[in-house]
């Protein structure tokens, strides 16, 4: 009896639910097709005559915790200028990937994604399905600033053009000469301790090892607490040293991929090369002798900062020390350049491409006015826009002194306990992100602090000539990258860490190489080669 009742109720509910669902699907698809081109001015401000409301899905970096982009100086100012009113739908970086994928998966799209770090795979997948608009013509017509940059630096166009010929995004760029920013975390060494040890700044991997060993013995922090090398992740050290061992010779954007030194028409998967092996052997030696922080694989950012403030580190790879650890500890550090390796390699390979992120702004098919949106973004590729984004409004957040833009006093020397960053976050939103183009002339932060600029100057002559942006792939290639590619990269990363800690003996190297080959190395390499060939010919 009960069963029958259940069945009855079940059927009724199910049918009505289906009905509700199918009803919901029908509406809404054919709306909003009114020609938007009318309500946009081709040049100058405002961008639109009638106020335009847009909803942006945006990543809100942690430093902006306490501000609201819907009511903040910079965006209010830009709204008044452009007549485009952006409703910011803000997501914290911890939940970014999840929220972004849920927004895409549910089909409930915002008008645009801003700083949402969409991967190339997603750009193509949703772009070719029509969820994201192809921007080629729009950029051509409505983005003069970006177009000019693309003409001067062809890499930009290559980085955002997919094999189907379309561009689905507007990129976040770093001015090519703004090296200090492209370096991000860079190596530092404690100069006070060097002096105490009567040593010079290490220039070879051997000297670096000697220094670390000497620091460990000297133990300036006392009680054996000194950490000769520390960092927030082991990958920083690996990338820095790759220049001393001759791998990753075109930058870190494409995982484990660089150019074959013997044949410059071929790419190479360097994680199986002898050079890479030599590097792991060196790092393994440092780790086993206790010269690398034994907790580097699990350390949290906060713990690292605490250790650094206690002055425990002999060397590290990090951002500006004075800015982050204060004058007393920070000023003890001097910068390191690339070390010369045992086989004579000495270049600095750990720096980002000038295309920082291909997906600064992505326009969805629901956007009522793509032309105005492209113009809205394009402003930030010009000097005025860069100034607005990174410096704010003259007279309110910055002053011009001797032709140079400098933050106002209330930001540089904020009242009470407020820090410089907190003061910035009250009026501006650039902290933790790069948007449009970032230029040395219109930027004031850790990367333009004297210590960091000096480091960049020292490193500059050793920097590799060409840094690849992330390549773009076809859908078929993405399929291979997501299965074979993911598996191999995961295996390589795990084994790298095991080789470094000694959990896995380097005698097992042949086995490791063999495993990677069995996992489908050849197939993966073909994909990369095809992507590289396209990159070269574009």
């Amino acid at each position: 009896m009960l069963k029958k009742l259940f069945f009855l109720i079940a059927t009724i509910t199910f049918v009505s639910a289906l009905y509700a669902c199918s009803n919901g699907d029908d509406g809404g698809s054919n709306e909003g097709e009114a020609a938007s081109g009318d309500n946009v001015n081709a040049t100058g401000f405002p961008i639109v005559e009638e106020e335009l409301e847009l909803t942006f899905f945006a990543n809100k970096p942690a430093q902006n915790e306490n501000n609201d982009w819907n009511d903040i100086l910079i965006w209010n100012e830009y709204r008044d200028l452009t007549n485009v009113n952006v409703n910011w739908n803000l997501v914290s970086p911890d939940a970014l990937e999840e929220n972004r994928n849920l927004a895409l998966g549910s089909g409930d799209l915002p008008d645009a994604f801003f700083l949402a770090q969409l991967t190339n795979t997603d750009l193509l997948r949703y772009g070719s399905q029509g969820s994201f608009l192809a921007l080629n013509d729009l950029i051509d017509e409505y983005a003069p600033n970006l177009k000019e940059l693309m003409e001067n630096d062809p890499t930009i166009e290559k980085a955002i053009t997919f094999p189907d010929g379309n561009m689905y995004s507007m990129p976040a760029l770093i001015e090519e000469d703004f090296l200090s920013l492209r370096l991000s975390a860079r190596p530092w060494i404690n100069e006070d301790w060097l002096e105490e040890l009567d040593m010079d700044i290490p220039e070879t991997t051997g000297e670096f090892y000697e220094y670390l060993k000497a620091v460990k013995e000297l133990d300036p922090a006392g009680n054996g607490n000194t950490i000769p090398y520390g960092g927030t992740a082991i990958v920083e050290l690996v990338q820095w040293l790759s220049g001393s061992f001759g791998v990753m010779n075109h930058g870190p954007s494409n995982t484990n991929l660089d150019l074959d030194p013997n044949d410059d028409s071929k790419v190479r998967y360097y994680a199986t090369t002898d050079e890479y092996r030599d590097m792991l052997e060196y790092i393994n030696m440092l780790y086993e002798e206790g010269l690398i922080d034994q907790s580097i694989f699990t350390i949290e950012w906060g713990q690292f900062l605490a250790n650094a403030s206690d002055n425990l580190y002999g060397s590290m790879i990090f951002y500006d020390p004075i800015e982050l650890f204060g004058e007393e500890v920070g000023s003890q550090y001097n910068s390191l350049a690339a070390l010369e390796g045992p086989n004579g390699y000495q270049s600095y390979n750990k720096l980002s491409s000038s295309v920082w992120d291909p997906s600064n702004l992505v326009i969805s098919s629901d956007n009522p006015n793509p032309e105005a949106t492209v113009r809205w973004m394009d402003h930030f590729y010009g000097d005025e826009g860069a100034e607005l984004y990174y410096m704010g409004v003259e007279g309110e957040t910055f002053e011009v002194e001797d032709g140079e833009a400098v933050y106002s006093d209330h930001i540089l020397n904020p009242e009470g306990d407020m820090t410089f960053e907190q003061a910035i976050a009250q009026d501006l939103t650039w902290l933790g992100s790069i948007s449009g183009i970032i230029k040395e002339d219109y930027f004031q932060g850790g990367e333009t602090a004297p210590q960091s600029l000096a480091a960049a100057e020292k490193i500059a002559p050793q920097v590799i000539d060409e840094v690849w942006p992330r390549f773009t792939f076809t859908e078929e290639e993405n399929r291979i990258l997501q299965s074979t590619g993911e598996d191999i990269n995961k295996y390589v990363e795990e084994m790298r860490d095991k080789f470094i800690t000694g959990d896995e003996d380097l005698d097992g190297w042949d086995n490791y190489v063999q495993t990677i080959e069995q996992m489908g190395m050849e197939e993966l390499l073909e994909v990369y080669q095809a992507a590289y060939d396209r990159y070269q010919s574009n």
Binding site: L5, N101, T121, Q129, E494, K498, T501
Partner: protein, 311 residues
């Protein structure tokens, strides 16, 4: 024939009568029923994306069928066996510890000193209320190779430090035992309730007959709560393969992933982080399939052996 029909008719009439008489009870049942139906049965139609190439723009119904492609990819993946092995071992490990709360509950039940009993019970319940994130934070703080308390002690005793957090050998122990620490006391509650229902006359009679305390526990308490134990065991099996995956994820790093990589973290990574919905759905479906087979098997066995079962 005629007899059959009259029975049918008679049944129909009884159902109707029964319903009319007890309609309030059915009404009470309705919200729960609807909840399960709307939130647990209707969404099941989405399972089909495991057999499709899901695109948000095309929708669940509109995406293309690809058959078992995603399953094949998962089964032939380099990590398939590792994921399966880790998931099963970790669950078996937890399952082996299933008797612990029973033992603790039996012990609590023997305590006569009221104040002491309350104190110990509260002490064992307390960790249950700590969030997983905090527990993992505590683990990191205690087990860190440089600053951790445990390694400090080891160093004081002149022993080598142990990289607890990055060692694949330690991961399972830390995961399972920290879990026990957190849930042990809480899991005793249901057994204590069952023990409270044991007929005191049985104990009195046994005492008169000269039974010792251990004998009384073995012969009276355990048989009395056996039905509860069996049901809880079956329910536990129902959750087999579904480990508290947030905790695994929080404790995971490249060095211990050899033992910490489980199906659920894999689904999270490929499904939510990489956005391969169809593939992740296929993997999740595979996991659920294992689950249901286990549940039915154990239920069947329990019914045969102990006459207690879920259905």
């Amino acid at each position: 024939m005629a007899k059959d029909q009259s029975i049918q008719k008679g049944r129909g009439a009884t159902i109707k009568k029964n319903f009319l008489r007890n309609w309030q009870l059915y009404l009470f049942m309705m919200p729960v029923f609807l909840y399960f139906f709307i939130f647990h049965y209707i969404p099941m139609y989405g399972v089909q994306i495991a057999f499709k190439d899901y695109y948000a723009t095309l929708g669940i119904w509109g995406s293309q069928w690809v058959g078992f492609e995603h399953f094949e990819r998962f089964f032939s993946s380099y990590y398939f066996w590792r994921l399966l092995k880790n998931t099963i071992i970790l669950n078996l490990y937890m399952l082996v510890l299933f008797p612990l709360p029973i033992i603790l509950a039996l012990a609590f039940n023997e305590l006569r000193n009221g104040a002491f009993k309350k104190w110990t019970q509260t002490l064992t319940y307390a960790p249950h209320f700590i969030s997983v994130v905090v527990v993992v934070g505590m683990l990191v703080a205690f087990l860190d190779p440089n600053t951790g308390l445990i390694n400090h002690l080891l160093r004081l005793l002149g022993m080598d430090t142990i990289p607890f957090l990055t060692s694949p050998d330690w991961f399972r122990h830390i995961f399972v035992w920290s879990g026990q620490w957190q849930t042990l006391g809480w899991s005793t509650i249901i057994y204590l309730a069952a023990l409270a229902g044991v007929n005191p006359e049985l104990h009195e009679a046994a005492k008169v007959d000269g039974a010792t305390r251990v004998q009384r526990i073995l012969r009276i308490n355990i048989p009395s709560i056996m039905p509860t134990i069996v049901i809880l065991f079956i329910l536990n099996i129902g959750n087999f393969m579904q480990i508290g995956f947030e905790k695994v994820l929080l404790m995971q790093n490249t060095l211990n992933s050899e033992t910490s990589d489980v199906i659920q973290t894999f689904v999270y990574q490929t499904g939510i982080l990489e956005g391969q919905y169809s593939f992740a759905a296929a993997v999740g479906l595979f996991e659920s399939a294992i689950n249901i087979v286990l549940l039915i098997t154990v239920n069947q066995i329990a019914r045969k052996v102990s006459e207690n079962s879920l259905w």
